[in-house]
């Protein structure tokens, strides 16, 4: 017959079970994938169709190139905002399905996208973003702001966007607009005076 276990040992074991259990529960909550947001609640979601897809707004150029106009698209939901933002940019590169004009050369690839704690999204493209760019101030503004507007309009976590090419900061896309700093959204390039 084994001796009865010590009362203190029993209490200690019980305590350990409680502690480990609580920690495990908390850890599980932290590590669990983000539950899909309830359909239709946040405005920037553009209204989700169901739990597995969401509608987003992409910004393309109007025919006379002085403004961006939105086009809706449905993308599959992903485990994180960053993954969904990558899908949005990929759709932007594919180009419009309406009579709007594309803003990014179709050869361009998205290498990386990340969002820092201050709401800046860093979007890293292949070199084609510069080498295949048609040039012109108008063309540069459309490229830059179609990316910026698409990301800020669909993802509340993103307030501004900085463009990178192959991991590095760039001065301009094709010699005009300063791309060393992040951009805030802007939808129209119409006259100021």
């Amino acid at each position: 017959m084994a001796p009865l276990p010590d009362r203190r040992l029993l209490l200690g074991l019980l305590f350990l079970v409680v502690v480990v259990g609580t920690l495990g529960f908390l850890l599980g909550r932290v590590l669990a994938p983000r539950p899909p947001e309830p359909p239709g609640s946040p405005v920037q979601d553009g209204g989700a169709v169901d739990a597995t897809t969401r509608r987003i707004r992409l910004f393309f150029a109007v025919p006379n190139a002085d403004r961006l106009q939105e086009e809706e698209r449905t993308i599959p939901r992903a485990a994180s905002i960053v993954e969904e933002a990558k899908r949005a940019v990929a759709e932007l590169i594919k180009g419009p399905q309406t009579d709007l004009n594309p803003t990014i050369p179709s050869a361009v690839g998205l290498l990386q996208l990340y969002v820092d704690g201050r709401g800046t999204a860093y979007v890293d493209f292949t070199r084609d973003l510069q080498t295949k760019h048609p040039g012109g101030t108008g063309g540069e503004l459309l490229t830059i702001y179609s990316i910026v507007d698409t990301l800020t309009a669909n993802f509340g976590e993103i307030q501004q966007v900085k463009l990178l090419v192959e991991g590095s900061e760039i001065l301009t896309l094709a010699g005009h607009i300063d791309t060393r700093r992040p951009f805030r959204p802007r939808y129209s390039f119409e006259r100021v005076r």
């Binding site: 004009n101 594309p102 108008g138 490229t143 991991g167 006259r191």
Partner: protein, 518 residues
């Protein structure tokens, strides 16, 4: 490592004399070693590879700079401000990238050596091409100068805050005396400036003080002296005597046009008023700019228009035109406004043609610079130094806030003139061209950032539109564009000079020229 075999100043001095410095080499004497670094000329300045700087200082090259002895220097291609911790210093020329690697102006090597061996111990003989470690410490590092349209700025970089005073020796000479100042060898020679405001600055080492004798060109205008910190600097602004009349002057009457007799011989051209125009034909060389559907290249079109415009201005207005390029060559963006700044141009016009992806867009538009609110600290610091106001007695934070406001105000002035110029040029293009007028717009243009003057960028047509591309191939069309821009310049010149009070209302040469054109 601490045990350095320091070469004494006296010894090195004789070494310097014996050393025949070939341009293109920098000799570095430290820790009993002698190293030679080959330099390369970039836009007329001597550069060294960042990798070499790392090797000499025992530092490591980072993707965006250099780390030496626990100090990180953050570099941005094309940006003269270098961020070190929470401070920024300015290089005389921006870092450039060649074959993917950074190249930096020679003085960066000096800064990196200072990070390694301590400030005030690294000596540099610029003309001799020698950098060495010394025993003595100096506290006045170097002198920079820059000509602005109405004043010349001298900046003396110090290592510690020092007291100073300015005394007027004569009408044409000032002395800046810095208490406890010790000159570095970089300050051993007189610096000739000869920019019409300052002839020369002569630093001398006195007993317990350093003296900078400032020789002015002719009569002295207003002078302002003040200190800036982070890094420590003493700044002297010397105003052009003419421009100083706009400030509260001691005895000069306000600049009013004296009613000149109409028969007055056209001997000397007006001294003030609009004197120099900078024209920047966009792109060039390996940068073709936009290409039309039939292969026409932007760089060729805008060079043609720029040269036509230059000829019109020179022949009809007789004022100076500075071109950023006159042939098919590559000119870096930052160099373009630097050319205009050096020439003290009154305004800057960048000529481009537009393009958009698969677009039917057509027409012309004009732009001026707008800035995004999020300025990098490097730029903010560079900008702060542009403010010629002494804000003594304020706490550093209040001082920074006030400087930022003042810069905004100064900038707003350029913005106002820039947007006016953009409007005038747009109106004139509208009169002559029969395509869409897309208006005046603003955007953060890289090429306009560095301009110390009103600056605009013009997109005169869409080369991506086949019809407009065809137009741009015709000499006659380009002539018409140049004529329109010329007419706009005449109108802007008239308005500009009237504002300065140089042209009495409803008379004056430029008005007549404008009328004669119609």
């Amino acid at each position: 490592m601490r045990k350095l075999s320091v070469i004494l100043v006296g010894m090195t001095a004789s070494l310097l004399l014996a050393h025949l410095a070939w341009p293109g080499e920098i000799e570095i004497l430290y820790e009993g070693q002698r190293k030679v670094v080959t330099t390369e000329l970039v836009s007329g300045r001597e550069y060294v590879p960042l990798a070499q700087v790392a090797k000499i200082t025992g530092g490591g090259v980072l993707r965006d700079g250099l780390r030496v002895n626990g100090v990180t220097f953050r570099l941005v291609e094309g940006e003269p401000g270098v961020v070190v911790g929470d401070t920024t210093f300015l290089l005389t020329a921006p870092p450039v990238k060649q074959r993917g690697a950074f190249w930096v102006p020679v003085e960066f090597l000096v800064r990196a050596l200072e990070a390694r061996y301590g400030e005030g111990r690294v000596y540099w003989n610029r003309s001799g091409g020698v950098v060495w470690l010394g025993k003595e410490r100096y506290n006045l590092r170097l002198l920079r100068h820059h000509a602005y349209p109405d004043y010349t700025r001298l900046v003396i970089e110090a290592l510690t805050p020092l007291n100073f005073r300015v005394q007027e020796d004569s009408n044409a000479q000032l002395s800046l005396r810095i208490e406890g100042g010790i000159l570095s060898p970089m300050l051993s020679e007189a610096v000739r400036i000869n920019d019409g405001v300052v002839e020369m600055v002569e630093p001398t080492q006195g007993q317990g003080e350093a003296i900078f004798r400032i020789h002015r060109d002719a009569f002295g205008g207003l002078t302002r002296t003040f200190a800036l910190n982070n890094p420590e600097r003493i700044v002297v602004d010397l105003y052009r005597a003419k421009a100083a009349a706009a400030q509260p002057p001691p005895e000069t009457p306000p600049a009013r046009p004296s009613p000149r007799a109409p028969s007055a011989a056209p001997a000397a051209p007006p001294v003030t008023g609009l004197r120099t125009i900078a024209i920047d034909p966009g792109h060039g060389g390996r940068d073709t700019g936009a290409i039309g559907p039939n292969g026409l290249q932007e760089k060729d079109v805008v060079l043609d228009i720029g040269l036509k415009l230059r000829r019109l201005i020179q022949e009809r207005l007789g004022i100076r035109v500075v071109m950023t390029r006159t042939e098919d060559v590559f000119v870096p963006l930052e160099e373009r406004t630097a050319i205009a700044n050096r020439a003290k141009a009154d305004f800057f016009i960048s000529i481009h043609v537009n393009a958009a992806h698969r677009s039917k867009a057509q027409g012309f538009e004009t732009y001026f610079l707008s800035r995004e609110p999020s300025d990098s600290s490097a730029r903010a610091s560079a900008i702060r130094e542009n403010l010629s106001v002494n804000l003594g007695g304020l706490r550093p934070k209040e001082e920074d806030a006030l400087r930022a406001i003042l810069w905004d105000m100064a900038n707003t002035l350029y913005l106002k003139e820039s947007s006016e110029l953009a409007q005038i040029l747009l109106d004139e293009l509208d009169k002559i061209l029969n395509v869409d007028n897309r208006g005046v717009k603003s955007a953060p243009f890289f090429v306009l950032m560095g301009a110390a003057m009103p600056a605009v960028l013009l997109e005169v047509a869409f080369i991506s539109n086949p019809k407009e591309e065809k137009n741009l191939q015709a000499e006659g069309y380009k002539d018409r564009v140049a004529e329109a821009l010329y007419a706009g310049i005449v109108r802007f010149k008239d308005r500009y000079e009237r504002r300065l009070g140089l042209v009495p209302p409803a008379s004056g040469r430029s008005v007549e020229t404008a009328k004669a054109k119609r």
